[in-house]
């Protein structure tokens, strides 16, 4: 394993630990660390999606406040910290920028497991890293297509027309996600 992925994985585990310290002990120092890393990225994400600096600052603060309030709902066997924060930021973006609603799927009945399985947590965090690496390794043109889909509201038919979209790259990730879900449902 290269030093970069090692460092990256350590970072991911740290973020997961920070969120559980917020949940269990309202730990403001853990929150400050998450804030320093993610708030400027969320702000950038919102500005690239069309928000001006003032609105993006306001929304990024709201997204981080939501992270604190919903820390008990974060399940590290289903999402990395970055993925979970993305979903919060996306919902805020739809609300604030597009003035739309985005109905959510029904929650799964997750049984009576209060603590997610550590092996599942590690596997998911590792897959998230690998996905990040796979995206970083894509040719510029393909990466730009994905960025356009996530930042600039490509319509679904525009996405469907993008023949260069490297969906094959994430197919193996999708397969893993599916296997894990089936495992979790047993």
């Amino acid at each position: 394993m290269t030093p970069t992925t090692d460092r990256k994985r350590k970072e991911n585990e740290d973020w997961v630990a920070c969120i559980s310290r917020i949940r269990e002990a309202q730990d403001e120092a853990a929150f400050a660390r998450l804030f320093a890393h993610f708030a400027p990225r969320v702000k950038a994400f919102l500005m690239r999606s069309g928000a001006d600096a003032t609105l993006a600052e306001e929304c990024a603060q709201e997204v981080m406040a939501t992270l604190w309030q919903k820390a008990h709902l974060f399940d590290p066997s289903r999402a990395s910290a970055a993925t979970w924060i993305f979903t919060i930021a996306r919902n805020r973006k739809i609300d604030a920028l597009r003035k739309q609603k985005r109905p959510e799927p029904e929650d799964l009945p997750w049984g009576n497991e209060p603590e997610p399985d550590q092996a599942d947590v590690l596997a998911l965090q590792e897959e998230s890293d690998q996905l990040g690496d796979a995206i970083a390794a894509l040719p510029e043109k393909q990466r730009v297509l994905i960025e356009k889909a996530y930042f600039s509201d490509l319509s679904h038919s525009e996405i469907a027309e993008q023949t260069g979209l490297p969906l094959g790259t994430i197919k193996s990730r999708i397969r893993l996600a599916l296997d894990r879900l089936r495992h979790a449902m047993k």
Binding site: Q69, H156, L181
Partner: protein, 216 residues
């Protein structure tokens, strides 16, 4: 809702657009309802959300304003603890659809559109239209084509058209190239959730005249 076998799933393009948050509300409702019934598509959506997470990680950061952490802590203290979510209503329908109807199927305010077919338009933004369709066993929805995209999700019963047989949980994704005449299975009445982003094009004259009044 994992005991039904679903053959027809969401496309990658729809899942990606739903994950990115760029679908019109009526489409999001249909996608969310299908995912509530389909573990495969739920897992695939997880991968697209992970891609969104990777995009946020990759963003160059933009500095937050001075004092923003303190301002956020003030927001958190002012907001207090999160209210517990409302208990889930018992429903034969997936939760997102139940929420838009405001109840179960018996709460739907059907309007007849002729030949025994009934519809109910659900309240969404105007960029696209979501409707429930009720097709009596053996009856047909008039032959129509599409200018944009039409998603048809079977909730109950089944229908057959030129493409295939669609049962509960199956979703048909039709575009401009498809003219079809969905016919409900003879065995049972069929109830579908359909979303369209452009008016349908009926090939027969009468439905075309009625179109502005029916909003179909």
């Amino acid at each position: 809702m994992t005991d039904i076998e679903i053959k027809h799933h969401l496309t990658d393009a729809l899942l990606m657009a739903y994950s990115a948050g760029s679908l019109p509300e009526a489409f999001s409702l249909t996608v969310a309802t299908h995912i509530s019934m389909c573990d495969d598509c739920r897992a695939r959506l997880g991968a697209f959300d992970a891609m969104g997470g990777a995009m946020v990680e990759r963003c160059d950061s933009v500095a937050m304003s001075a004092g923003s952490l303190e301002a956020t802590m003030r927001r958190i203290r002012a907001a207090g603890p999160l209210a517990a979510p409302a208990p889930r209503a018992k429903s034969s329908l997936p939760q997102p659809l139940h929420d838009y109807i405001g109840g179960d199927l018996d709460a739907v305010k059907w309007r007849s559109v002729g030949m025994g077919v009934k519809q109910a338009i659900l309240p969404t933004s105007r960029a696209a239209t979501a409707r429930l369709l009720y097709i009596p066993a053996g009856a047909a929805v008039p032959d129509h084509g599409h200018r944009g995209t039409e998603l048809t999700l079977v909730l109950q019963g089944a229908f057959v058209d030129e493409v295939d047989h669609f049962g509960p949980g199956d979703i048909e994704i039709a575009n401009e190239d498809l003219n079809h005449t969905p016919v409900a299975d003879i065995g049972a009445d069929c109830i579908c959730l359909a979303a369209t982003d452009a008016p349908l094009r009926f090939r027969a004259l009468i439905p075309r005249l009625a179109q502005p009044f029916l909003r179909i």
